[in-house]
């Protein structure tokens, strides 16, 4: 848990005092990632760096796991907080192993212990220890270096991590990969993380909570979905972008709104049966045909079933595409557009049909929040 209590930083500049962070109050619950987001100069980085005193607070307090850190020795405080920066900052004069082992060595771990820990971390970040440990940072790619940067921050297993635009300098393709890897690690590690970003998409992807800063003040602090659905003021609305409702697609998975019951036909059913099933389930255009293992193998079109006689096995069309339960709605919408479909069948890990999802379902799900707000507004009036 990280709690900031009236944390304030005033810089004295030749042009007078500048308030970089103005009485910031917030709390990040244990095991969650909080993204500090905002335009440059908004105070997000200053706030982050006051937690490990890279920048000394003018006033206010930082609590970590309930303990006031004000009285702690600066070096000891920093050793108990993982720190990852955009420029990575691996020491070029040290091998990868030495870089990762820096904090354990400062903490006085014995050799066997830190060596074992380094190997464990290398497996965690999916880099082969024997291939990398004796090499130097300059021999690694940017993406590999930042993985090592993350491993170094995790080396002494700190409960709290601070990350200052950690993936900002990595090319977009590798960035997405590292973000995914990091989220996967975080599922097991459950660190409490403060993470500075200026990228709204990264914030939505990585954050359990998002704190939006503007001109040194914390403007809004909420979950990504709340933020996108209910921005507090015009500044935040414009910062999130006019397509913010679309960004919520990233946050919802297929399994959140897939229909449980689904009508199907088998190859041995005749087309009349297919037509009556479509009517029973209210399908306007087509119905999925499944094999004996309940895997979707094709579709029967309504237009065809109405005009033709025969068995389904002789008249089905191939299935253009399917979705999986853990796909997000952004991907689903993209697939629908790409295949000119208003619905998609959904399959489980075994490839068995387990439901379907329609454009109406998506609109309805995203719109639910707005309808509640409107209802509230009406009752308030």
């Amino acid at each position: 848990m990280i709690r900031l209590d009236n944390l304030t930083k005033v810089f004295d500049t030749p042009k007078g005092a500048v308030v970089a962070a103005d009485h910031i109050n917030m709390e990040v619950p244990s095991g969650e990632i909080c993204i500090l987001l905002g335009p440059s100069g908004c105070g997000k980085t200053t706030t982050l760096k006051m937690i490990n005193r890279i920048i000394r607070p003018t006033s206010g307090k930082v609590f970590i796991n309930g303990e006031d850190t004000t009285g702690l020795n600066t070096q000891e405080l920093r050793r108990s907080i993982g720190y990852v920066i955009q420029q990575i900052g691996l020491f070029p004069n040290m091998t990868i192993e030495e870089n990762i082992a820096v904090v354990p060595k400062l903490l006085g771990w014995d050799k066997a212990r830190y060596k074992a820990r380094v190997r464990e971390l290398m497996h965690m970040i999916a880099l082969e220890p024997d291939a990398f440990l004796k090499r130097y940072p300059s021999e690694l790619s940017g993406g590999q270096q930042q993985r090592i940067g993350v491993a170094r921050a995790l080396a002494a297993d700190p409960p709290v991590m601070l990350m200052d635009e950690p993936f900002g300098a990595i090319d977009p393709i590798n960035r997405a990969v590292i973000q995914d890897e990091f989220l996967k690690m975080q599922q097991d590690l459950r660190k409490t993380i403060m993470f500075v970003s200026h990228d709204i998409d990264e914030a939505i992807k990585m954050g359990d909570r998002i704190a939006i800063f503007r001109a040194g003040k914390l403007e809004q602090y909420s979950s990504p979905d709340d933020l996108l659905a209910d921005p507090k003021d015009e500044f935040i609305e414009s910062f999130l972008g006019e397509d913010r409702a679309l960004k919520r697609l990233n946050l919802v998975k297929v399994h959140d709104l897939v229909s449980q019951e689904v009508g199907t036909v088998t190859p041995d059913d005749d087309l009349g049966m297919a037509l009556s099933r479509m009517d029973d389930f209210g399908y306007h255009s087509a119905i999925v045909m499944v094999n004996e293992r309940h895997q979707p193998v094709g579709v029967i079109r309504r237009s065809l079933a109405r005009t033709t006689k025969g068995y389904c096995r002789d008249h089905f069309e191939p299935l253009p595409t399917v979705t999986h339960l853990d796909d997000d709605l952004r991907k689903v919408a993209s697939l629908m557009f790409a295949h000119d479909m208003t619905w998609l069948p959904c399959v489980d890990e075994g490839g068995r049909l387990c439901g379907h999802i329609t454009q109406r379902d998506i609109t309805h799900h995203l719109g639910a929040r707005y309808r509640v707000q409107q209802a509230d507004a009406i009752t308030e009036v």
């Binding site: 070096q75 990575i88 070029p92 004069n93 300059s138 170094r152």
Partner: protein, 221 residues
């Protein structure tokens, strides 16, 4: 080529003078490194002090060596060392300060701020940062300063023969006073060769002291 015959005939003397020369420069630059590097590191903490120190060191280098020896004769005569070994070593010591202090200062100051921040954020104390990160990264540039000092002062030390410090300059001074071109040329060639060889030896030492993993291209300067 009479000077070569002279050199062969006096090979023992040549060897002795060469060793004398190396010892003089070695002792002086050695002491200068022990003082210059800590000064160079210390002044990175205070920009105004740094400017003053580097200014003073530059002024010292502009004083011609023969003038410096002249100034030191009356001063050091008070302790009975107006000429000879001591003023020679002191002169070289003073001349060496600028390249060593300046290179140390520049090297420590030029350590990537991101590395500095990473080292701080990780929880290294100021001394640990110096020992584990800043000095190792500065070594190649500090060594380049030492090399400059050594090469510069092999020349200065040749002039110190005039105040009785010994070394290869003795061949030159005697060659002039005795109108003996053999000694003159031998002295000049020996001093020049010594400078080139020592520079080369120190360059290989510099490469050896450079931490592995550091970009070699950066160090070529």
């Amino acid at each position: 080529m009479e000077w070569i015959q002279y050199a062969v005939a006096n090979i023992d003397l040549l060897a002795a003078r060469t060793i004398e020369h190396i010892a003089l420069v070695g002792v002086a630059v050695g002491i200068a490194t022990l003082t210059g590097v800590p000064i160079g590191i210390a002044i990175t903490k205070n920009e105004r002090l740094a400017k003053t120190v580097l200014y003073v060191a530059s002024i010292i280098v502009t004083v011609p060596s023969i003038a410096l020896f002249g100034i030191m004769i009356p001063v050091l005569s008070l302790i009975g060392h107006g000429i000879g070994y001591l003023p020679a070593v002191i002169a070289v010591l003073l001349y060496s300060q600028l390249p060593i202090i300046r290179n140390t200062y520049t090297a420590i100051n030029n350590v990537d701020p991101a590395l500095r921040e990473a080292a701080r954020g990780i929880g290294m104390s100021q001394n640990q940062r110096l020992q584990k990160v800043e000095i190792p990264l500065a070594v190649p540039i500090i060594m380049a300063g030492v090399r400059t000092a050594v090469v510069l002062n092999i020349g200065v030390m040749a002039i110190a023969a005039y105040i009785g410090a010994g070394g290869l300059g003795t061949f030159i001074s005697r060659g002039i006073t005795q109108s003996d071109p053999r000694q003159l040329i031998l002295g000049a060639v020996a001093v020049s060769l010594l400078a080139v060889i020592v520079d080369y030896v120190l360059l290989s030492l510099q490469k050896r002291l450079t931490p592995k993993g550091m970009d070699q291209a950066v160090l070529a300067e």
